[in-house]
C-alpha cells in the first residue's frame, strides 16, 4: 500500500471512532501525528498519540450526579495529570468563590504529554478545587466542587 492508502484508511478509521463529526482532521505521515478538532459547543480538542489510531477521545467533562443536594463535581474525563493553571506560576483558571459558566475552562488534563482543556459542563460557584496542581488523577475522579444553587 502506498503512504496515501495507509493515511486514507487511518483517517477513515478515525472518523468511525469519533463520537461526532469532527470540525477538522489533520494528519501527517512521517513520524505520524494526528490532530482532531471538534466544534466548541460539542467538545474540545482530543489528540491521538503518535502512530495511534482509534485512541482519540474527546474531552467531555461530565458532572457527577450521584451526589445529592446542590453540590456537583467536575470530574476527570480521562486518566491524566491535572493542572489548575495555564502554566507554572500563572494564575489558576478558577479560584474558590468564583462563579463559572457552562463551558468555562477550569483546568488542564495532560494525558500522554498532550494538554487537553478541562471545561465545566455546569454553571456554579467554585466551592473547592479538590486536587493540587500537577496531581495524577484517575478516570472519573472529582476535581472541582461546584455549588449549583
Amino acid at each position: 500500500m502506498t503512504d496515501f492508502d495507509t493515511l486514507y484508511d487511518k483517517v477513515i478509521g478515525l472518523l468511525h471512532a469519533a463520537p461526532r463529526t469532527p470540525k477538522r482532521i489533520e494528519a501527517h505521515v512521517g513520524d505520524a501525528s494526528v490532530l482532531m478538532e471538534w466544534h466548541a459547543e460539542s467538545a474540545v480538542t482530543g489528540v491521538a498519540a503518535p502512530a495511534a489510531s482509534g485512541t482519540v477521545e474527546p474531552v467531555v467533562p461530565s458532572a457527577d450526579t450521584a451526589d445529592t443536594g446542590h453540590l456537583r463535581y467536575v470530574v476527570a474525563p480521562m486518566i491524566g495529570t491535572f493542572y489548575c493553571a495555564p502554566e507554572p506560576g500563572a494564575d489558576p483558571f478558577v479560584t474558590v468563590g468564583e462563579v463559572v459558566s457552562d463551558g468555562q475552562q477550569v483546568g488542564i488534563l495532560e494525558t500522554m504529554k498532550l494538554m487537553n482543556p478541562l471545561k465545566s459542563e455546569l454553571a456554579g460557584r467554585v466551592v473547592e478545587v479538590l486536587v493540587a496542581d500537577g496531581t495524577a488523577v484517575e478516570y472519573g475522579q472529582r476535581l472541582v466542587t461546584l455549588d449549583t444553587r
Partner: protein
C-alpha cells in the same frame, strides 16, 4: 526481571498474570474500567488505576489511558493478556516509544502475522504446509472465483484482518460463490475496516491442533507440545486438551519443528501459538499464528510444568530461554473446559446477570482460573467467560472422568444467568469425543441432533 508490571486486561487472565507476578516478587498495577472497580484482580494487585468507563473502546482498548497509567505508576512492562490490545501493532509500538516493554512480539511481527494472507505466504515460504488457496489477498470477485474453481469446493473465504472465528464463510456450491465473496468483503470492511479477502480449500472434517511456541530475543525457540481444540461452537473453542488424541509423538514432533521454523523465520519473540488443521489422513496445514497468551494455555502448563506467564516475563526482560527442546517432556493428559455465562438453548447467547451461587470444583489435580465469586455481576460489556476448569491425570480416560466429576461439583446460579455446564457435560459424554474421533463439526452435530430429537 521487572520491578513493576501493568496488566492491561481484566477477568480471569488479569488474575492469572498478577498471581505469577506476585510469585516472582514483581509489583503489579491493575487497570480497571468502572464495571471492574472492585474486581478480583484489584485484591491481588499492588495498585489499581481507574482508566475509563465500561465500554472497552474507552478503557481496555484505550491505548492512551493505559500508557498514562503505566507512566503514572512507573510500570516498566505491560502484559496485554488476550483480546483487547494484545495483538494491536500500534499499541506495541506506542509502548516501545515510551520505553515500556510490551510483553509480546515486536510491533512489525504482530502486523505481519495479523495479516492472515501475508502470514500464510510467509509460512509457505518458510516451508510450512498450507491448504491450496490464493497466494495473496484477492481483490476482484472474478479472479477469486477462478481460484475457488481451481482448488475445488468447498472453499472458505476469510477476511485478511479476521480472527477469533469472525469474518469467514464456507461456500459449498460454486453457484453461491459470488454472493458469499461479496458479502464477506462487505462484512470484513464493516467489522475490521479492511475489505481484503483470501480464499482457501475448506476441510470439512478436520481437527484443530495448535502448537505452543516460546521464542527469546536471542534467536532461540522451542515448542511445548500441542493442544487439540476441536470442540468449538461458532468457531469459538470450549474444550481444549493435550495430548491431541490419535496423533503420534512423531507427528507432533514434525508439527512442532514446523512451528519453531515458522517462528524463527519471522523473528518472533515471546509466546506464540501456531494453529494447524489436521485432516483425516493425519496431514497438517498451517492456519494462523496467535501473538498472545491463549485462553487455553493452562493445559500446556499442566503437562509441561512450565509457567507460561513467567516465561513471557523472562523473555521480555531479555533472558535467554532456560529450556532446551530436550527439557520439555510433556507428562500425562490435561483437559480444560471454558465455563461461559451463555445459553446453549438460545444459540449460546450471553446471559449477563448477578450470581447468587458460585461454587467451583476442587480436589486432586483440579485447577480453576476465575475472577467470579458469589455476588459477582456479569457485565454485558465483556465476553461471557466465567471460569476455566482444568484437570490433569496420567491418561486421557482418567482426565475425562476427572473433568466430569469436577463439572458435577460446579454450581452456578443467578438471576437470568445460564451457563454452558450441562452442554459441556453432554460433549464430554459423547462417544465420538470419548473415543477421540471427533472433528470441529462435533458441536454442530450435537446441536442438530438434539433439535431433530425434539421434533
Amino acid at each position: 526481571v521487572f520491578s513493576t508490571v501493568l496488566i492491561a486486561n481484566r477477568g480471569e487472565i488479569a488474575v492469572r498474570v498478577a498471581r505469577t507476578c506476585r510469585e516472582m516478587g514483581i509489583r503489579t498495577v491493575a487497570v480497571v474500567s468502572t464495571s471492574d472497580l472492585n474486581s478480583a484482580v484489584t485484591r491481588i494487585a499492588d495498585e489499581t488505576r481507574h482508566i475509563g468507563p465500561p465500554a472497552a473502546r474507552r478503557s481496555y482498548r484505550n491505548a492512551a489511558a493505559i500508557i498514562e497509567a503505566a507512566l503514572q505508576t512507573g510500570a516498566e512492562a505491560i502484559h496485554p493478556g488476550y483480546g483487547f490490545l494484545s495483538e494491536d501493532p500500534d499499541f506495541a509500538e506506542i509502548c516501545e516509544l515510551h520505553g515500556i516493554t510490551f510483553l509480546g512480539p515486536p510491533a512489525h511481527v504482530i502486523a505481519e502475522l495479523g495479516d492472515k494472507a501475508l502470514a500464510r505466504k510467509k509460512m509457505a515460504d518458510a516451508g510450512l504446509p498450507i491448504l491450496p488457496g490464493s497466494r495473496n489477498a484477492v481483490d476482484d470477485v472474478d479472479s477469486a472465483k477462478d481460484i475457488a474453481d481451481s482448488i475445488g469446493y468447498p472453499v472458505i473465504v476469510k477476511a485478511v484482518a479476521g480472527g477469533g472465528g469472525r469474518g469467514m464463510s464456507v461456500v459449498d456450491d460454486p453457484g453461491d460463490f459470488v454472493a458469499a465473496f461479496t458479502a464477506a468483503r462487505a462484512q470484513a470492511q464493516a467489522v475490521f475496516g479492511d475489505s481484503r479477502i483470501y480464499v482457501e480449500r475448506f476441510l470439512e472434517s478436520a481437527r484443530h491442533v495448535e502448537i505452543q511456541v516460546l521464542a527469546d530475543q536471542h534467536g532461540n525457540a522451542v515448542y511445548l507440545g500441542e493442544r487439540d481444540c476441536s470442540v468449538q461452537r461458532r468457531n469459538q473453542k470450549i474444550i481444549e486438551e493435550t495430548p491431541a488424541p490419535g496423533l503420534t509423538r512423531e507427528h507432533i514432533a514434525e508439527m512442532g519443528a514446523a512451528a519453531v521454523l515458522g517462528a524463527l523465520a519471522v523473528g518472533y519473540v515471546g509466546a506464540a501459538t501456531f494453529e494447524f488443521l489436521v485432516d483425516d489422513q493425519g496431514r497438517f496445514y498451517f492456519m494462523e499464528v496467535n501473538c498472545r497468551i491463549q485462553v487455553e494455555h493452562p493445559v500446556t502448563e499442566m503437562v509441561t510444568g512450565v509457567d507460561m506467564v513467567r516465561e513471557q516475563l523472562l523473555i521480555g526482560a531479555g533472558h535467554r530461554l532456560s529450556l532446551g527442546q530436550e527439557d520439555i517432556l510433556p507428562f500425562g493428559a490435561a483437559v480444560e473446559c471454558r465455563i461461559n455465562a451463555e445459553d446453549p438453548a438460545r444459540e449460546f447467547l450471553p446471559t449477563p446477570g448477578h450470581l447468587t451461587e458460585f461454587t467451583m470444583p476442587g480436589g486432586p489435580f483440579t485447577r480453576v482460573d476465575t475472577h467470579a465469586h458469589p455476588g459477582f455481576t456479569i457485565s454485558p460489556d465483556y465476553d461471557p467467560l466465567l471460569a476455566k476448569v482444568i484437570v490433569w491425570a496420567p491418561d486421557r480416560q482418567q482426565a475425562l472422568a476427572r473433568m466430569a466429576r469436577a463439572l458435577d461439583e460446579t454450581r452456578i446460579s443467578g438471576d437470568a444467568v445460564e451457563t454452558n455446564i450441562d452442554f459441556l457435560r453432554t460433549v464430554l459424554a459423547t462417544p465420538a469425543f470419548q473415543d477421540g474421533k471427533h472433528t470441529t463439526q462435533l458441536v454442530d452435530q450435537l446441536i442438530n441432533s438434539s433439535l431433530t430429537s425434539e421434533k
